[in-house]
Structures are given as structure tokens and as C-alpha cells.
């Protein structure tokens, strides 16, 4: 009996520690969730008051633009009441929800259910499926093709996509994302947007099928202390001269190595910079091709790794993060505004970001990283509302300015970014008071995303994974390419080399 008690207690102790971990986490997440829920409720009150005035304006504008609709319906309100009562939005995290909650005029959050809200008399439902293990895409694949025949309240009205797999939904046949023509959005409405953000969601026939409020152009984020010590300057314009192209960048890497620093945390940091500047897409027809600029990444990276000027860590790993602190001895990361603002441990005492010692310059080539696109789902029963949400969130300058001020997003509006870049009063604390919008706006202008294909996500991931063995000297280049080909064939049996 006594012995039994011993073993039961041991097992209980272990399970208890396991559960204690869960309990702690649950309590932790519960607290902000409750706070989140409380916040919109507080804000709902002023929003209520503002709603009638704000909402009336776009509705009035919509009427003359949409001639047919106006002719059919006597009043503006009639158009809205003809449409569905439930607006279903498919997304993978809280980001877009918080943007709409905070900035869409007339949106009322439901205090009792964080995944629900109201716009006028339409109920907004947020359906969040995490991206882990491809779950979000699998979910979309399941429901989008049959969306038109779904029950009215279950129809998907808006879904969000990321750049890596946007074309999969944009090029789907039959279409699952509505084109701008179908939604009634004219080219003039969306002229003040960066071209690359539209390239990513343009189908093979040139039809635009999504919009983004973000322009995630990125640059080279350098450690000012290291720049001062090794390069003799910390000014963005002068540092840019030392990294202005890949040859110069690699030469600077040598100088940094001599002083005991890594030029970048891992070769995977610079991958996006090369892969955004390719001259041909990954897949032509059904043939996979490796672009010269990707080959150049392999060549440059191999040289850097062999010279111990960088490492082969995976992005987001604990090893990769080390450079966020001075002891990590990393000169630069490649990244956009969100990386600087949210990912570089700015709240942690002792980090480089906390001391405001990062700087931003354009870097060897322009690129972008991340961003969320809004698509109207084919079969939606709320096309007018979908159109209004897309336009308000991506083109309304007042809303975009609010987003910049409240959420530090880099927004998709050249004219607004231009104004911000010229605003000398604006400075980012993490960047030592530097105004990053000049570099970000310059970068966004130059990003060219016309060379993307439906298979980019799978190809990019497999290529980086396969090349890691080559960089570490485990296999030669040909074997690494062969491994890449095997991996791609597993993912896409229809492709060939």
C-alpha cells in the first residue's frame, strides 16, 4: 500500500507540474484576453456616437457610383438590407480584427464574444484558424470552392491571405477571390498604392483580386555601435554606402569579421532579399527553374559561412535571436517595420533595441517581408460591405494615418509615406530617433513582385532547407539541388525539372 502511494504521488507530482504549466499559461493569456475584450467595449461608446455620421457618408457616396444598385433600390439602406445578415471573415490571427475594431468607422465589438461584432445591422464573425501545420490553408481549401452553395449565414465573405501563397487563391479556377471589377472597385480608387502590393494578388489574366493596407517594404537594420566601431559612422546614408550592393556588402563582412562581428545572424536573413529580386519565377509552366539571383545567394552565402562571417541558423530560432543583444555580435538583420517594432525585444532591458541603437538603411537590394491581403470571397452575400471594408481599410488616408500612429504599421500609400518621411518631428525610439519612412518608402517603390508563382512558399522553404547541408559542408551543391528537387516533387507531384 505504502509503495503504491509512493508511485501514485510521483506520477501525480509529474502530472501536476505539467498541468501547472498549462494553468499558468491559461491564466496569463486569460488576463490580456479579458483586457482586450474590455478595451473595445470601452471604445464602443464613443464609436456609437460617431457611427451615424461616419457611416452615412460612404453609403451616400456608394449610391451614385453604383448606378445599377441605386436604380434598383429606392434608398441606400435598402441595398444593405438586401444583403446577408452575417459577414464571415476568415483569418489566422488577431491582426486584422484589431485593425477593424480600432479603425473601421461604425464597427461595434461584441463585449461578450471577442470573435464577433456588428457593423450596422450586420453581424461580423471572425473565424480564426492558426497557420500552424498549414491548418489555415487547409481550412480555406475545404470551404472556398463550395462557398457559393453554402447557407447564407455560413458563406465566407472576406478571407485574408499572405504573400507566400496568395497566388494559390488568386489563380484558382474557378475563382475563389472576387476581382476588383466584380466588386465595383475602379482603378482610380486604388491608384495610391504600391505596385508590388497589387502584383502579388494579380492573376494570370491581369485581374486584381485583393488589397492590402500594409506595405511591408524592408531594409537592412544595423547595430549602430558596431557600425561606429568598424565602419566609422552610424549615419544611415553613410552606412548604406558600405552595403550598397552585394560585393560591397561581402567586403564589409570581412572587415566586421576582423573586428569579431557577424555581418548577419544567418544566411537565411538575406534569402528574401535575393529571392525578391529574381528575373524569372520559380515555376514556368510545370518546370522548376533556379534563378541566377538565387544561385548568387548560394554562392555568396557559402563564402560567408566558410569564412565564419555568418551562421546557418533557422529564422526565429533561439540562436538567431542572439544578435538582438550586444553579446550576440551581429551587425545587421534584414527586416521590415514590424520586425523592428515588435520582434527585436525592445521591451527587454539590455537589448540593442531597448537602448535605441539600431539604424535602418535600404541595403544591397530592395525587398519586402510579410503583409496581409484582404480578398472578397466569391459567393459572398455582402458585396457592398466587403467593398466598403476593403476600400476603407486600404485607401482611406485618415484611417491609414491612424494605423500608422496607433499600430506602427508601414501602410500602403506612397503619398502618406511621403508625408511621413518629410515629417521631421517623427522619430522611432528603437532606431535612435531615426525617421525610417524615407528608407521604407524608397524601398517599397523599388520592390518588383511580378515574378512570383503559385509554388513560391514550398519552393522557398525546401530550397533553404536543402542548402543548409551544403553551407555546412555535408553535401556538395549538386546533391543539395537534388535534395531540393526531391522535396519539391513530394510537395508538388505535377512539377518537373
Amino acid at each position: 500500500m505504502k509503495k503504491k502511494i509512493v508511485s501514485i504521488m510521483l506520477t501525480a507530482a509529474m502530472t501536476a507540474t505539467l498541468l501547472a504549466g498549462c494553468g499558468g499559461a491559461a491564466a496569463d493569456t486569460a488576463a490580456p484576453a479579458a483586457a482586450d475584450a474590455a478595451a473595445p467595449a470601452d471604445e464602443a461608446a464613443p464609436a456609437d456616437e460617431a457611427a451615424p455620421a461616419d457611416e452615412a457618408a460612404p453609403a451616400d457616396e456608394a449610391a451614385p457610383a453604383d448606378d445599377a444598385a441605386a436604380a434598383d433600390s429606392a434608398a441606400d439602406t435598402a441595398t444593405a438590407s438586401d444583403e446577408g445578415k452575417v459577414l464571415n471573415i476568415q483569418c489566422w490571427n488577431e491582426e486584422f480584427k484589431s485593425r477593424v475594431t480600432d479603425h473601421y468607422p461604425g464597427y461595434e465589438a461584441d463585449a461578450s464574444d471577442p470573435n464577433s461584432g456588428k457593423i450596422g445591422d450586420v453581424t461580423v464573425k471572425w473565424i480564426i484558424t492558426p497557420t500552424d501545420d498549414n491548418a489555415y490553408q487547409n481550412h480555406l481549401d475545404e470551404i472556398l470552392p463550395t462557398n457559393e452553395s453554402a447557407a447564407a449565414d455560413d458563406k465566407v465573405d472576406i478571407f485574408l491571405v499572405e504573400a507566400d501563397y496568395a497566388l494559390k487563391y488568386v489563380n484558382a479556377d474557378p475563382a475563389v477571390a472576387m476581382s476588383m471589377d466584380d466588386l465595383g472597385i475602379a482603378a482610380a480608387d486604388i491608384s495610391d498604392q504600391y505596385k508590388y502590393t497589387q502584383d502579388i494578388v494579380t492573376d494570370t489574366n491581369g485581374k486584381l483580386r485583393g488589397l492590402s493596407w500594409q506595405a511591408c517594404s524592408a531594409g537592412l537594420i544595423y547595430n549602430r555601435d558596431i557600425a561606429k566601431e568598424v565602419l566609422g559612422t552610424e549615419e544611415p546614408e553613410e552606412v548604406q554606402e558600405k552595403v550598397k550592393d552585394w560585393a560591397t556588402f561581402n567586403k564589409t563582412a570581412e572587415d566586421l569579421k576582423k573586428a569579431g562581428y557577424f555581418v548577419e545572424s544567418t544566411v537565411n536573413d538575406s534569402y528574401r532579399v535575393y529571392s525578391n529580386n529574381v528575373s524569372k519565377p520559380w515555376v514556368d509552366g510545370t518546370t522548376v527553374q533556379i534563378d541566377p539571383n538565387i544561385e548568387k545567394w548560394v554562392e555568396d552565402s557559402k563564402a560567408l559561412v566558410d569564412a565564419k562571417e555568418t551562421n546557418t541558423y533557422d529564422l526565429w530560432s533561439d540562436d538567431w535571436n542572439k544578435g538582438f543583444y550586444p553579446e550576440g555580435k551581429v551587425f545587421a538583420y534584414f527586416g521590415p517595420a514590424w520586425l523592428i517594432n515588435f520582434c527585436m525585444a525592445a521591451d527587454t532591458e539590455g537589448s540593442v533595441a531597448n537602448a535605441g541603437r539600431w539604424g535602418l538603411c535600404v541595403g544591397p537590394q530592395s525587398f519586402y517581408w510579410g503583409g496581409t491581403w484582404i480578398c472578397g470571397a466569391t459567393g459572398t452575400d455582402n458585396p457592398t460591405l466587403v467593398k466598403d471594408i476593403m476600400l476603407t481599410m486600404t485607401t482611406d488616408k485618415a484611417v491609414l494615418r491612424e494605423i500608422v500612429e496607433k499600430d506602427s504599421d508601414c501602410v500602403n500609400s506612397p503619398s502618406l509615406l511621403g508625408e511621413l518621411a518629410a515629417d521631421t518631428s517623427f522619430g522611432n525610439k528603437i532606431l535612435g530617433g531615426q525617421n525610417p519612412y524615407k528608407q521604407l518608402a524608397d524601398g517599397a517603390e523599388k520592390v518588383d513582385m511580378s515574378k512570383i508563382s503559385d509554388y513560391d512558399q514550398g519552393c522557398n522553404e525546401s530550397f533553404q532547407a536543402a542548402m543548409k547541408d551544403y553551407f555546412e559542408g555535408k553535401v556538395d551543391y549538386d546533391k543539395a539541388v537534388a535534395n531540393f528537387q526531391t522535396a519539391v516533387k513530394e510537395k508538388y507531384p505535377e512539377l518537373s525539372f
Partner: protein
């Protein structure tokens, strides 16, 4: 009288038999829904070309044995089979040695080990942790700048971090070591149960005859333990062939380096990226056949020796 008793007895048996079947029913239903039907449909779908490309569903088109031909004609599957076996053996050999030793000690009354139950529980504990969590733990411990590397460097044994996950040998050893740690407790308990079942008078008789403890172990314990030993071997072999979670998490699904830690089930998992049910079905059937043959061979081999 007698006849009447017999009659009522046999009708009672029939009556009770009915209840037996009724009590079996829930199991049979669950088995049919979750095992039998998927099993049959797996075999059925292995003859089809059936996958997704983006939002497009390709197939199902009947293509006969083409999936099997593609799989077997490619050298990769043999490489993954080899990987699986190497990693299984790396874990199984230390596991069986340590388990036999522990079971022999625990079952030997002359040793009088104190706190037996405590130790039996402790060695079983690693098995309670999810394999994924366990692999994640090792991934962090053996990372390039993880605690193991910093300890080795501080002790002056190495001058720069050793990349455990980037070398075939160390990556396979880690997988083997983790499987050993997770399963030796379970094996010990099984072997211990087998050893306790041996008649103690045999040991006593051997001792009286002057046998050494070595002789007792090899001449008495091992032969009488054979049925349990075969059971352990076969279950471990099947478990080994289905090795997935530990190497999957440890190498982020890539089987790095150079696909040398890619197991057969990880390979199968790769086909699920595009819901390639045809190819993964074919691979499952091949695995089933291999498992069947190996289990049968092990069983035959060991039971023949018994005669």
C-alpha cells in the same frame, strides 16, 4: 436428472454468449469505424492518382500499381528504410541491455534492493512525456548555442559549438538516445513481469547445484524469458518502423542533414502536404507488408530455437 441439468446448462451458455457479443459490440463498432474502414480504404486508394494541386483536386484516377512502381524504383525509399533501422537499433540495443540488467536486479531476491517501487516508477516516467515535447526539449538542449554546447565549451572540451543536428552520426545518436530513454522503463517492466513468472525453485535448485549467477541468467532466466522477450522484440520493431515524432520534431521535418534521419513515416508525412493519398496509401501498404514479414520472421526464428 442429469440430462435435464446438462440441457439447462448449455442453454445458459448460449444465453451468456449472447451477452458476450453484446459487450464486444462497442469495441467492434469503434474498431470498424476507426481501424478497419480506414485500413481497407488506404489499400483501395493506393491504386489511384489522387492529390491536390493548390485548390485543384487531381484524380482520383485509377493507375494500377504505378504508385508502387514509382516508390520502389526510387532509391530514396531504401535509404529511408536504412535510416529507420539504424536509428531503431541505436535505441534498441542499449534499451534491451539496460532493461535486462535492471529487470534481473529487481527480480533477484538476494539483492534486496530498497525503494524498488520508487525506481520502477522513476524509470517509467520518461514514457509519460509526449514524444514531441521530449524532442523539443532535446532540440533546445543540443542547439548550437544551447546548454550542452556551452557546458562542453566551458569545460574546454571543444573550442566552438558542435552542431549536433547537422551531423548524421550525432543526429541519429540523439534520436536513438531519446527512444532509449523513453522506452527502457516500459521494457524493464515487461521483462520484469516475465522474470517474476519464472518458478523460484528453479533458481534455488541451480544455486544448490553451485551455478554462478551468470550461469543462472543465461541458462535459466533467458530461455524461460523467451516468449516475453520475443514479444518485446516484435513490438519494439513495429514501433521502430513507425518511428516519427522524435526525428520529425528534432529535425523540423527535414530529416537533416542530407535526409539521413528521414524515417519511412516522415517520408509518408511529406506526401500529406498535398493530400497525396495515392502515394501515401501505397507507402502504408508497403510498410504493412514489411512489418508483417519481419514480425513473422522474428517469431519463427525465435520459436524454432525454443524447440
Amino acid at each position: 436428472m442429469d440430462g435435464g441439468k446438462k440441457k439447462s446448462g448449455s442453454s445458459n451458455v448460449v444465453k451468456y454468449n449472447k451477452w458476450g457479443y453484446i459487450f464486444l459490440l462497442p469495441f467492434m463498432i469503434v474498431y470498424a469505424v476507426f481501424q478497419l474502414i480506414p485500413f481497407v480504404s488506404t489499400i483501395y486508394y493506393s491504386f489511384f492518382e489522387n492529390y491536390r494541386s493548390g485548390l485543384k483536386q487531381i484524380g482520383p484516377n485509377f493507375i494500377g500499381m504505378e504508385n508502387y512502381a514509382t516508390l520502389l524504383s526510387n532509391a530514396d525509399i531504401w535509404k529511408y528504410t536504412e535510416n529507420t533501422f539504424v536509428m531503431w537499433i541505436l535505441g534498441f540495443i542499449p534499451q534491451i541491455i539496460v532493461s535486462l540488467l535492471l529487470a534481473a536486479w529487481f527480480s533477484d531476491p538476494s539483492l534486496r534492493i530498497k525503494g524498488q517501487r520508487f525506481f520502477k516508477t522513476v524509470i517509467y516516467l520518461p514514457n509519460l512525456i509526449m514524444a514531441a515535447a521530449f524532442a523539443m526539449l532535446f532540440f533546445t538542449l543540443f542547439a548550437d548555442s544551447g546548454p550542452i554546447n556551452s557546458m562542453l565549451m566551458q569545460a574546454g572540451l571543444i573550442s566552438e559549438p558542435y552542431k549536433f543536428m547537422s551531423n548524421t552520426g550525432s543526429a541519429r545518436m540523439l534520436v536513438g538516445f531519446m527512444n532509449f530513454l523513453m522506452w527502457f522503463g516500459n521494457t524493464t517492466i515487461l521483462l520484469l513481469a516475465g522474470m517474476m513468472g519464472i518458478d523460484t525453485s528453479l533458481f534455488e535448485a541451480a544455486e544448490v547445484d553451485g551455478a554462478t549467477s551468470n550461469q543462472i541468467f543465461w541458462r535459466i532466466t533467458m530461455p524461460l524469458l523467451r516468449p516475453i522477450f520475443v514479444f518485446v522484440l516484435i513490438t519494439s520493431l513495429i514501433g521502430g518502423l513507425q518511428m516519427f515524432d522524435v526525428p520529425q520534431i528534432l529535425t523540423a521535418g527535414e530529416g537533416a542533414p542530407d535526409r539521413t534521419t528521414m524515417t519511412l513515416i516522415m517520408f509518408l508525412n511529406k506526401h500529406l502536404f498535398n493530400k497525396n493519398y495515392g502515394m501515401s496509401g501505397a507507402l502504408s501498404v508497403i510498410l504493412l507488408i514489411v512489418t508483417g514479414i519481419l514480425s513473422f520472421a522474428v517469431y519463427k526464428f525465435t520459436s524454432n530455437q525454443n524447440d
